[in-house]
């Protein structure tokens, strides 16, 4: 599974899939702090992930 972290534009590769909730807790992120995007679709924490997925995790920050 390929993860793109924005806005840093860092790419991570993880083997185990599970669901969005477990993915975020492995990365130490709270669900309310990011958008989780797959193929232009937003995913809720309960959604299952597949090993071949490409996921974007976009931190929600204010511009100031």
């Amino acid at each position: 599974m390929q993860i793109l972290l924005e806005p840093e534009n860092k790419v991570l590769t993880l083997d185990r899939a599970g669901n969005v909730c477990t993915l975020l807790s492995r990365l130490g992120i709270r669900p309310g702090q990011v958008l989780v995007i797959r193929d232009r679709e937003l995913l809720t924490p309960d959604r299952k992930l597949n090993p071949e997925d490409k996921i974007t995790i976009r931190k929600i920050v204010s511009r100031g």
Binding site: G32, L35, E41, T44, D46, I60, S62, R63
Partner: protein, 311 residues
């Protein structure tokens, strides 16, 4: 997870509302929250000319889009802070957004005003965000008044407001506490200021902007890292995670049960603002903050220029 309204697949989970929404229903939910804020707090009506402060981030663009959808009379104002790369990118987002949605736009360039933020960062010891915030408030207010707008709307969301309240409470800053809220009426040289997104969290405005396909800037300002607000937001996020609904109850509790007390205190003890002796902007210190910033810069640049003495 299924949508609470229509049972389709949910795209957004909102623990504090004990709800989940599909894209269409989420947009309905969002509009209703904005509408509720406008009606409950009597922020403005269709008769008002509204100036929206546009930074290029998700909140301000979401606000302008939503107000336009509701057929309010909106115009955008962007302040170009002259921060290398960052400001150019932000300005690009604002210009494209206003072009695409046909929202009239004005831009003030701090470089032209001789107040570029990177220069001010070098000059002042206090956090650059406090200088930047002061300058932005000054120009937004001045532009609104000089161009006959009756309302200035900003994209501050629930997280911004809760973090500000938290910070004001930690310092027991009674003047700021008496002055915080989604509606500041116009008075003595200040235009009416409103925050129609105060019921919506940062997470919700991000979801709205994504689902509305708004092309917003999601790279933060390079100076935002050390800001104390970012830290307070993290603390409140933890609290919200363990106790969903905490942020809104903290903020609304303040509005309903504490704000008036602080406002009264401020009326009794606070000073009446009078026009700045240089520029006419209302201030309680004789010369307003922005004119003082200008004076400091010019005195220091003159002082540091080489002087030639005859030998």
């Amino acid at each position: 997870m299924k949508c609470t309204r229509c049972r389709a697949k949910a795209a957004v989970a909102l623990p504090r509302h004990n709800a989940g929404f599909c894209p269409e229903c989420f947009l309905v939910f969002f509009s209703r929250q904005v509408e509720k804020a406008i009606k409950d707090k009597k922020l403005f009506t269709n008769q008002d000319r509204i100036l929206v402060a546009l930074s290029g981030g998700k909140d301000s663009l979401a606000l302008a889009r939503e107000l336009q959808n509701m057929e309010y009379d909106v115009t955008g104002l962007h302040i170009d802070l002259a921060i290398p790369e960052s400001s150019e990118r932000a300005r690009g987002h604002v210009i494209r957004f206003c072009r695409d949605y046909q929202i009239p736009l004005h831009v003030i360039e701090l470089e032209r005003e001789d107040l570029p933020i990177p220069k001010l960062k070098k000059f002042f010891k206090r956090p650059v965000c406090s200088v930047c915030g002061q300058i932005k408030r000054y120009y937004f207010n001045r532009f609104a008044l000089e161009n006959s707008f009756s309302v200035l709307a900003t994209g501050h969301n629930l997280d911004d407001e809760a973090a500000r309240l938290f910070s004001n409470v930690l310092r027991w800053d009674t003047a700021y506490l008496g002055d915080q809220g989604p509606l500041l009426p116009d008075e003595q040289g200040f235009v009416r200021k409103v925050k129609p997104l105060y019921r919506l969290s940062e997470f919700e405005t991000a979801n709205y902007s994504f689902l509305s396909r708004i092309d917003y800037s999601f790279t933060p300002c390079p100076y935002s890292k050390g800001a104390s607000f970012t830290f307070y937001k993290k603390i409140l996020d933890e609290l919200e995670h363990h106790q969903p609904g905490r942020k809104i109850s903290f903020y609304e509790g303040f509005l309903n049960r504490a704000r008036n007390t602080f406002a009264r205190l401020d009326q009794e003890q606070g000073k009446e603002p009078a026009p700045c002796s240089c520029c006419g902007y209302p201030t309680t210190t004789g010369i307003c903050g922005v004119c003082r910033i200008r004076k400091t810069i010019s005195s220091r640049t003159t002082a540091s220029q080489p002087t030639f003495s005859r030998t």
